[in-house]
Structure formats: C-alpha cells, structure tokens
C-alpha cells in the first residue's frame, strides 16, 4: 500500500470542517476559488479589508451599535442599499426612528420603489423581522427593534441564515456574547464616522476604521 504524501494528509486535515482554525485560515477557507469573497461590498475600502468576508457577510445578522440615532449609521448602509436596489432586489425597513425621506434616498441613487417601510406596533416588531429574514425574496432587512436580548438575536440570526437574507439591526446596547456574525460600534467624529469591529465571526481583529463623511457620494 502506498504511503500517502504528508502534504496531502495535511491538506486533507486542513480541509476538514471539524478542524477549527484561526482567523487567517478561516479567511482562506471562506474565500472561494479564484479569490472571490462571499461578502457584499460595503462601499468603504477600509471597512472591507478589515472584515473576513471583504464586505458585509451574506445571509447573516449584523449589529450596528450607535449611542444615538442619526450619527451616520444610515450612510454606512447607503452603498449597500444602492447596490441592492439597482440589482432589482428589495429592502424592508422595520420601525425606523423616522420615515426615511424619499428625495434624499433617491438623490443618493437608491431606487425608492424597492424600499418598503414596516411600522408594526412594538410587540410585533420581532415577529415581523423574523418573517422578513426568513423570506428569500427579501434581500435586506434594516431594523430598529428597540429592546433586544441575546435570545432574540440568536433567533434572528437563525432566520437570516435560513432565509439567506442580510439583516442589519441598529441599536444602542452592546450585548456581549450575541449570536450575530458581525457587530460594529459606530460613533460620529468631527469629519468621519469611526467604526469599531466588536466582533466578526472568524476573525480576532478589532480594528478601528474611520469612514470619511464625503465618501458616501
């Protein structure tokens, strides 16, 4: 019997999903053949490079934590909204703090016919978000759910992965050990939006990135 090549054995071991590997290897594993990353580009090069997926993770839940509404968190997702609506897909907005202003979104290149606003009464918000995340026809869910617990996030993360939908939750509180795939803290600075990667599944990097205000155009 021929002895297998040690390199081959190592490679087969590395390819095995049972073996947990550090961030760089995880990155290599998530990278598909041909150097293609599975993420959706955020539109901000600095942010893309510090995330393992080189963009927003697909089919997952993302948390964006801000101290206040209106500190630039919407500009962070604007390139994504533009890309999704131009691709003919729809986004659902759950309980935004205000009704989004159509002329501003249209000026920013977002197809407003594909933006659906859902304003459920507070007890029904999580039900609605889950239903939307589970639906494959919905490409993106933006949600301002108010109160959230780790249990809620786990359930929504599960819904996002079954429905192959990207869900972005905006809230104020950093819930440790939450099940979301990516957790970012966004703070406004003088001339930029400062982002801190609190958690990105498959990476130990806790980068601090500054996204300049002007880059949204």
């Amino acid at each position: 019997m021929q002895t297998p090549d040690p390199d081959h054995r190592l490679r087969s071991l590395l390819d095995s999903p049972n073996l947990w590997r550090g961030s760089e290897h995880y990155l290599a594993a998530t990278t598909q053949a041909g150097g293609h990353f599975p993420g959706l580009p955020t539109g901000f090069a600095a942010l893309d490079t510090s995330l393992p997926w080189r963009g927003w993770p697909a089919n997952a839940l993302v948390e964006i934590i801000t101290p206040l509404w209106g500190t630039g968190e919407l500009q962070l997702v604007l390139p994504l909204l533009r890309r999704i609506s131009m691709a003919g897909k729809s986004a659902l907005w759950f309980s935004p703090p205000c009704i989004p202003y159509a002329p501003a979104l249209a000026n920013a290149g977002v197809d407003i016919a594909r933006m659906i606003i859902v304003t459920p009464p507070p007890p029904q918000v999580l039900w609605g978000i889950e239903k939307a995340l589970q639906n494959k026809a919905c490409a993106l869910v933006l949600a301002w759910p108010g109160h959230l617990s780790g249990k809620h996030i786990r359930r929504l993360q599960l819904a996002a992965s079954t429905g192959q939908t990207l869900g972005i939750l905006f809230h104020h509180r950093n819930i440790r050990h939450s099940a979301s795939v990516l957790r970012l803290r966004a703070e406004a600075e003088e001339d930029a939006l400062a982002l801190t990667v609190l958690k990105a599944r498959g990476s130990y990097r806790h980068d601090r990135i500054r996204v300049p205000w002007s880059s949204h155009e």
Binding site: P67, L68, W69, G70, T71, G72, E73, L74, Q75, G88, S90, P96, P97, C98, I99, P100, Y101, A102, P103, A104, L105, A106, N107, A108, I112, A113, R114, M115, I116, I117, V118, T119, P120, P121, Q124, W127, G128, K131, A132, N135, A137, C138, E187, A188, E189, E190, W213
Partner: protein, 484 residues
Amino acid sequence: MSSKPFQNSLALHPLRAVRVDKARGPARKHQGLRRPAPLWYALWLPQLTQQPAIDGEQQARLQQIATSLGALSATVSIERPDGFLFEVGSTLRYFGGIEKVRTRLHALLEPLLHSWALPRHFHEAASPTPAASLLLARAACNLLVYRKDNLRAALGRLPLHTLALPERKKRQFHNSGLYILRDIWRLPSHAVAQRFGHAFTKQLEQCLGHVASPVQAYQSAAVFFSNLDCTYAIENKQALLPGVETLLERLCLFLHTRELAATHLHLAFVHEQQGRTEVEIMLRQANRSHAHFQLLLETRINALALPAPVIAMQLQVTQFAPFAVHNRTLSGLPAPQDCHADLNDLLPLLEQLQARLGNPAVRSIHCQDEHCPEQAGLDRPFGERLPAVAAQPADAAKDEERPYWLLAKPLPLRQEQGRLFYYSSLRLLSGPERIETHWWAPQEIQRDYYVARNRQGMRLWIFHERPSPNQHEARGWFLHGVFA
C-alpha cells in the same frame, strides 16, 4: 351492443358503445380544422329527489354538482329535478377518450354523493343529441352512441313511458298497442303527428337530432359562499385551521373551474350567541394559490381574539379578477406603468405582514415635485395608488443635500444666549438654503435651511422660519431632519 340494453344496469358497468364503426366513427381522422361532432353526456341521479331534503339544500346540491362538472366541459346544464347534461365532444381529445371522461366523472361525483350520505350509483348515457342522452340516462340505459345514424336503433328499445308525456297520452299509447319507440317509428310520420300531436313528434325529432334542442347552460353567479358547521364548538384557534383549509379547498376548486382569481376574502366565525368574528383579507394582487390564502388566514387567525367558541365558519368571496399568469415584457424589463411589478416575489411576505399588522403598517415612500420639504417626500400604505408620483425628486432639490430622516413635524430648538441646542450646542456647517413655496400653495413657507452639527456628531437639518408678511416677528428655529 347488448341485447338487453334497458334492463336496469348498474352505473358502475362501463358504458357500452353502440355499433361504433372504428374506421368512420369518432376516431376518424379530421381533415383540416373541423368542429368535433357534439357528444352530450347525460346523468340521472334519482337519489337527489328520493331523499327528503330542504328546498335550499336541494338547489345547492344541484349547483355544486353542476360546478364540479365544469371541470369536464364548458357547457353544463341542470335538467331539473335530478338530471344533468354536459357536452364532451369538444373535450374528448383533451381528456383522451370517453372512458377517461367517465373515470374523472366518477372521481368527481362519488365523493360528493358520499358526503351527502346518498347512494353513489347514478345513471349515465352519451349521444350526439341532448334530448336522446337524457332520455337514455333516465331510462337507466347506460349507453354510449357516437353517431346520429345509430340513435334510431338505440332509442328504439326504450319503453314509451320513459318519455316525458302526460298520463293520458301514455294510456293512449298503451291502448293502441304501442310499447316501445320502435313501434312509433314503424308508423308513417304524418300519421303520428296527426294522432299524437306535434309536441310529441317534436320531442322525437329532437331526440334524433332532426330538430335542434336548445340547452340552457348553467352559469352560477360569480359569488363564492361556503359554510362549514363545526361538529362541536371550537375554542382553540389551532383547531379552526382544518376547517378553514376545507373552505379554502372549495374556494380554490371554484376559482380553478372558472379561471378566476380572488382579490378579497371574507371569513366569518359564527359564535353561538355572541354574533360573529369577521376576518377580511384584501389581496394586493388577484391570487388563487391555496398555500398563500392559508398562510394569510393563519397569520390573521393566530392574532385573533375569539370572544366565544366557534360553531360554524363561512367563507365568502365576491370580488374576482380573471386569472392571469404572471407576464413579463419581451425585453425582460418591467412594464413601466406598474411601479410594483418587480415586487411580485415579495408580495406574499408583504401581504402576510399586512394581514397581521394591518394595511397602514406596511408603507412605501414616494417623491413629489414640490418645494415644500414635507410634501416632497411622501409615505403611503403600500399598494395605494397616488395620482402623480415622481420616481425622482424635484429638479430643484437634486443638487442640494437632503437628510435621510425627516421629522414628521419640525421640532422647536432650544436657544440660550444666542446659541442653538439639540443634545448639545450646534455649530452651523453650511447654509442658508432658502425654501419658499408659491404664494398660492396651501401651506405657505419661507424658510432658511442650514446644516448644523452638535457635539455628539449628529448632522442636523435645521431651519429658521422667516416672518411672513402678515406676521412681523420671526418664528424661531426648528429641527427638521437628520443626516443619519
């Protein structure tokens, strides 16, 4: 053909064909576009009148059978009190022969009769004329006659008393020694007319197809109403779902046989004493999918509070649209006039959300060609049609920066020692941009807009209300939007 065709044979026996000449019969090759020879299928269900039933129920049963026969033929007629006629000549090729039609017919009717606790046997016959088919069926003959030429022979053995004749006439035949139709055909036709009247000869001519016999096609009103009585009072909402499913099955059969789609469902739960609980579902797009209806109703029922146990449920649909499969334009692009055309995939989700949260909770946003910021952006319940909606904002506002959040009502800003405050003191970044409406506009505004920033880093869209000509003092500073 059997030698004893009109002995009571069971309907379960296959139909017997009368002298079908294969080479020249129905299998004859059609040359060019030829209208297929008519073939009328008649049913006789004496059990419908034998059992005492309430008048309304009798009527409902006849209609229900006629409705299900619509799955086999475009022309169905109720021959009161207990017969049915439908044309199958034009659909024979589609179904693949008379035997296939017969199998389908039995599969349709037997469960119905069984559900009414009636015997499942019925009599059937098919021939080129409606009158002859009905006569053969009522004589319990179970015959199949393809060609008109054979009708005379097939009918010849029928006893005269099976014809719809007054008692006096029947006696007259008996006394004249005429027992079967062949006895009549042996007589010279003018003599028959003279002795037995024109009404009788006309009946015979109709049977033989020499005279046309009009058939009144059954067309029920396009209203669906179905009632389901519960065997016991139901308190649990989950226990209602099987009943709702049965009602939906009936609805979908109704929609399929008529090529219709429903746009509005009305479901009512009847309580023993405390009236009814009603559930209305408006559909954004006409639909006939059982699964979709079920999902919507389930969502609504789960959110429902039942005041009392349910003893019956009723489903009513009065608004229909012709069923249309989803079309795409040739280029693959959506039709320009329908701004929601591409949201088709999303519609089931949106309808589910609307079913649970109410129609106003699901909203779409629009731009309007207006200077006044409040009117330039609109939000309306999803699906509501607006008279004039621009896909793009007004040209004037195109180059100016606009906030992504606009407050529904401008918020007065706190002023202290000449400084403006929102969470913390504000610093003006750019401005002013003057926005004025025309003097004839319903809401007259004269505002100077600025972009400001507070210490928390929020970029705010604030304005200074200029005094209007009839008001001499400035009305202060307001927050109108946030550049989130």
